[in-house]
């Protein structure tokens, strides 16, 4: 039980800034999402499921739109630039950089041995000035980066879990949902908010229940 609790939502971090509203409703650009939904095979292997992943991405976008509307902000859809363009390359680098940065933020928070010594507890990460050009292109104030992996038991895994519990007394909590998101200020590239979480519940496949996962993902997002 302790393990279950420990596996719950992590703590979000912010710069403590509110969303800028001097130009009207804040526009938040949803960057290309890194999402993968898998089925747990009877043996516990995560098998990526294309249909679920597709539905999951759509559900995240819908739920995030509603969530931000409720906060008086607007979600802006990302329109991919031509594949070979400089913009496409730069955007890809920003997404990759955000992923790397997310790893550092996580280890700074959770792994004392891997911390950057001069950083301390300060939350002052940045994607740098390259993010400014992105903001101008989309007339957006912020960019939202999303990384989510989720897995769900297939029928075979459920049968296995029931038998394993009754025969061996081993409890299997099923799928594993984990993810992170960050909000980047496109006027300067600063990461203003970051949240990573991991738990053994939640479902992104169905539009109705996906909103609960998205609310968790966006926990602590500046108002």
């Amino acid at each position: 039980m302790a393990l279950l609790l420990a596996g719950c939502a992590g703590q979000y971090q912010t710069r403590g800034e509110a969303l800028r509203r001097d130009q009207g409703t804040p526009r938040i650009l949803l960057m290309p999402m890194d999402v993968e939904l898998s089925e747990l095979s009877p043996g516990g292997t995560e098998v990526p499921n294309g249909d679920w992943t597709h539905a999951g991405m759509r559900n995240i976008e819908t739920a995030a739109t509603a969530f931000l509307n409720g906060r008086g902000a607007r979600l802006v859809a990302y329109v991919p630039p031509p594949a070979d363009s400089a913009e496409s390359h730069d955007d890809g680098q920003l997404v990759a950089l955000d992923e790397v940065l997310g790893g550092h933020i996580k280890s700074q928070q959770e792994a004392p041995t891997q911390q950057i010594p001069t950083k301390g507890a300060r939350f002052d990460w940045s994607l740098g000035p390259a993010a400014v050009a992105l903001g101008k292109r989309y007339a957006a104030d912020y960019a939202l980066f999303v990384h989510v992996k989720d897995s769900y038991m297939g029928v075979g895994r459920m049968v296995y879990a029931v038998v394993a519990f009754s025969v061996l007394g081993v409890y299997d909590s099923g799928g594993h949902q984990r993810g992170s998101a960050s909000l980047v200020d496109l006027s300067n590239g600063n990461v203003v908010w970051h949240h990573a979480f991991s738990r053994n519940s939640g479902d992104l496949r169905e539009a109705g229940v996906a909103a609960e996962s998205v609310r968790l993902l966006l926990n602590g997002l500046p108002r």
Partner: protein, 390 residues
């Protein structure tokens, strides 16, 4: 994927295999139809994983945007498997390791190191044909299903109480591992057989498929690596023994016979602009024994740009920072300058070596020649300081 395990170390061989489609099914499975799009959820899921990898690869600094070379490799694929031409996308990846890979979404990655190893276009075609074989026989998804299926079986077996017998669980894990690797080797052999037929269809000389391995075995022997596996590796490797592959391919090549017309021979022309970088990457791989053997083989087999190859051989000796190698480095630079294709950097490196050998006057001459030939050199300031110090 073509390489043997030895050449994939550091790449995370297992992951790369699962991901890059090192694998397949029993022989005689039909080829996928051209334009194939999977419908099964697990295959669609895997395809999406590859699509995401491809998006990242496109933007990676290691993906070389070399339109001429990429188009040349793509044309080779189209020549061998015309109906699949629209389904295949070729990426040249900067990596000194001998390797190429194919994913089930049509993403083919060709390492620069592999292009350096090949003696002619038919040898390149042999490996591209092999990779197309992985694609045609859907090895990615079949390997994935094989792994998942075997783990599932083991999980249920564990419920029967067998797992409580000491050592049984470990034994099961080991068995799964060997079984999965054996399946992978089956795929490699199948791809070899498919690939050599594609080669012949494309007008290439099938015997070169065997010579790729012959060359690799020869270079490894020369480098002091034993190109045979230990008994244990015979079961654990994802790829069949090179000598075994070579023998099987020689057999298949005999059956197919030589091409009617001389096979296309455009490799050197297309690789030349990148050759300096490829040789530099090979030297910097740090595997000096292989570098020495490979560059020696290239010098013996390939009369083009000999000066450039000698220069990089010299760089390998010089970089060791070992006094006894300075003579070898100097000799290599002298060979380079006496041949075609030596870059101006040969003079700079020769100057550095002469300086270490205490031949200040000769060193200064070399530095001056370097700056005359390369007035806009990046390291001009450093070289000028050497000149000022005398």
């Amino acid at each position: 994927m073509i390489s043997r395990r030895h050449f994939t170390r550091g790449l995370g061989a297992g992951l790369v295999c699962g991901v890059s489609g090192c694998v397949t099914t029993q022989a005689n499975q039909p080829d996928v139809p051209p334009g194939y799009r999977p419908t099964d959820a697990d295959e669609v899921g895997l395809l999406r994983v590859f699509d995401r990898m491809e998006e990242k690869l496109k933007k990676s600094a290691l993906h070389l945007k070399t339109p001429a070379l990429t188009a040349y490799l793509k044309d080779m694929c189209c020549r061998m498997a015309a109906p699949y031409c629209p389904d295949i996308r070729v990426y040249v990846v900067r990596n000194p390791e001998f390797n190429a890979s194919m994913a089930s979404n049509g993403m083919m990655q060709v390492h620069t190191g592999f292009l350096l190893w090949c003696a002619n276009e038919s040898q390149v075609a042999a490996v591209l044909g092999h990779e197309l074989g992985h694609y045609l026989r859907r090895h990615s998804i079949n390997r994935r299903r094989d792994i998942v299926g075997k783990r599932d079986a083991a999980a249920f077996l564990g419920l029967t109480g067998l797992a409580s017998i000491p050592g049984m669980s470990e034994a099961a894990q080991t068995l799964i591992f060997y079984s999965v690797q054996a399946y992978s080797r089956e795929h490699e052999s199948e791809s070899d057989a498919v690939g050599i037929r594609l080669m012949a269809r494309g007008g290439y000389d099938p015997v070169e498929a065997a010579r790729v391995w012959e060359r690799m075995i020869a270079v490894q022997r020369q480098a002091g690596n034993d190109p045979t596996y230990t008994k244990q590796q015979i079961f654990s490797s994802t790829h069949p023994l090179e000598a075994e592959r070579m023998g099987a391919l020689y057999g298949l090549a005999r059956g197919l016979g030589p091409p009617k017309d001389p096979p296309p021979a455009g490799l050197m022309e297309h690789v030349r602009p990148l050759r300096g970088m490829m040789l530099d990457d090979q030297v910097k791989s740090g595997d000096d024994k292989t570098t020495e053997a490979l560059l020696g083989t290239i010098l013996r087999d390939n009369p083009d740009d000999v000066g450039m190859v000698h220069f990089h051989m010299g760089e390998m000796y010089r970089r060791r920072q070992n006094t006894s190698d300075l003579g070898l480095a100097l000799a290599s630079y002298q060979w380079a300058l006496a041949s075609d294709g030596a870059p101006p950097e040969t003079h700079r490196s020769m100057g550095l070596v002469l300086r270490k050998l205490g031949r200040q006057g000769d060193a200064m001459d070399s530095f001056r020649t370097y700056l005359r030939l390369r007035p806009d050199a990046d390291d001009r300031d450093v070289v000028q300081r050497y000149l000022a110090e005398g």
